[in-house]
Amino acid sequence: MTRSCVLTVVVWAAGAFAATLALLLPPALQAVDPTPGGTVATPALTVNGVSLSIRPLAPTTRPGPAPVIELVAANPTAAPVGLTYEVELLATAPSSPMSRVMVMPRSLYRTPPAENRLVLEAGQTRTIAIASGATLARGEIQVIVRSGGNQIMAGQFSVSALAGAVADGKPAVAVQQSLQAQP
């Protein structure tokens, strides 16, 4: 067998090898990397080039008046953009310690239609303070941002009577557990 014959076999084998791998490997991806991954630092909904996000909230707050939500709208494009948006606060909580899931979220606040129009000049960023006037009870709050037919959970926080409480260096939920365990 001449050198050219060997070369022909090697070249075709290499090509077939690469093509077959390219064809078969993606479906053969298996569950090998379920370890904790990344976190999106600031969840943002992008519509017509405009990014809508909310300023990060404290992870836990006390029952009572809802904190003011700050919606940040940034238009990095070179043209003015107009859009409508909606911010909704949803509240949920466990119905009992042994229930399977929390109750269906109920709406505490939704941006009034008269206030949900926004026009941003090219390169402009605006911060809109949203004072919902809602009263928060123990549970979890989701901040939903909608625009252009899409939505994201832009923020989430817990409402606990023990927000910020620390005993013996334990976080609030540990304090709550120890209190519940007491007779």
């Binding site: 077939a16 093509a19 991806l29 569950a31 090998v32 979890e140 409402v159």
Partner: protein, 364 residues
């Protein structure tokens, strides 16, 4: 040797070498995939018992009485007192329980805590990045540790890992081709753990070893509350309209009453549409959703044992809904199953039924 033969030889060698690499990679990485709902005989299941969850006991009694003796039953309890309590309540049935005492608060719902993937050497139980409500719900916070507790107890056979994604085990329902994905997985991860749907799809593929099929307009509940895959090509999807026609013959108490509204019907129909578009034969089965959005009289929240030529389905039924129970039983029989009924009257008002209480760890 002419050039055509040389090229063919090269082609064959290249393809063979690539197939060898794919096979090696499959084995080396575990080749793991999320357990299918309907394939294989049950070998090991996991249930929970915690103080305050006595409503699970009637379900456990009926289910365990009918379960083949060769199925291992692990019961997770917070402590020895709780285990003594469940043993006492289950009487002779308790002889088959294998206890795992975890030493912390927990809920009774096994299904949502982890998904099981069977690899060549180990079963991997993979828990979510975090449990919804854990910050305000001590029992749910304890639930976050149960996958690790189980693996520690079954070291050498079971490994625990934590996913980078937020999910409840019940949000994911696996068949041979797809893993069906309930809408909360999208809400809880998009722009939080992943930046796009494409990234979420990739992450779920890596997590489950199966192709995700998203159900974005489905009811806001776990997947096995509204659908179940029953064979390679067939799914059952809940249909409130089928239940509505039978509801006049009686329904048990439902919080807020039954919800047969058009939006709710549309959410179930959307599941049927997505499955049909993916090539599945879709059969519909009665379901009664309620106005609170979480209590369902559902007949897809089942455990399937795929052993033998005629597999068995453990079917939840409800006192006061006899016409619905009978209709559901007929549909499962027509799908090729022998039906063993399990009365879930005591559990549905806690937002879950049989499939929610029983997680499958091992199948053949």
């Amino acid at each position: 040797m002419n050039r055509l033969r040389l090229r063919s030889l090269g082609l064959a060698l290249g393809v063979l070498a690539a197939l060898g690499v794919v096979a090696w990679k499959h084995t080396a990485t575990g080749g793991a995939a999320m357990l299918s709902e309907y394939e294989g005989a049950l070998r090991g299941i996991v249930i929970h018992y915690a103080p305050g969850s006595d409503f699970v006991l009637p379900v456990y009694r009926q289910f365990l009485q009918q379960l083949p003796a060769d199925v291992r039953v692990y019961v997770l309890c917070p402590d020895a007192d709780a285990y003594a309590q469940v043993r006492k309540e289950l009487g002779a049935l308790s002889s088959r329980l294998q206890p795992v005492l975890v030493g912390h608060a927990m809920t009774a719902w096994s299904r949502d805590r982890w998904i099981a993937l069977r690899g060549p050497r180990y079963t991997d139980v993979i828990g979510p990045r975090g449990e919804a409500g854990a910050a305000v719900w001590p029992q749910r916070q304890g639930d976050q540790r149960l996958a690790a507790d189980l693996a520690e107890s079954l070291a050498g056979r079971v490994r625990a890992r934590t996913s980078g994604l937020y999910f409840d085990g019940g949000d994911l329902l696996a068949g041979q081709r797809h893993v069906f994905v309930a809408p909360d997985v999208i809400t809880r991860n998009l722009q939080r753990t992943v930046s796009s749907m494409a990234e979420l799809e990739h992450a779920l593929q890596r997590l489950t070893g199966r192709t995700p099929l998203f159900l974005p307009e489905a009811p806001r509940h776990h997947a096995a509350m509204f659908m179940m895959q029953v064979s390679h090509d067939t799914v059952l999807v809940g249909d409130p309209s089928l239940a509505r026609s039978l509801a006049g013959q009686g329904l048990p108490p439902l919080p807020g009453g039954a919800d047969f509204s058009p939006p709710t019907q549309a959410s179930f129909d959307s599941v049927a549409s997505v499955c049909a578009a993916a090539g599945y034969r879709v059969r519909r089965i009665p379901v009664v959703p309620t106005a609170d959005g979480k209590c369902y009289l559902t007949y897809v929240n089942v455990i399937i044992d795929g052993r033998g030529p005629r597999p068995t389905v453990y079917l939840p039924i409800y006192q006061g809904a006899e016409a619905l129970n009978a209709a559901a039983e007929r549909i499962w029989q027509e799908a090729g199953y022998q039906v063993r009924a399990v009365d879930c009257t005591s559990t549905y008002q806690h937002f879950g039924n049989l499939h929610c209480l029983v997680n499958v760890l091992e199948r053949t």
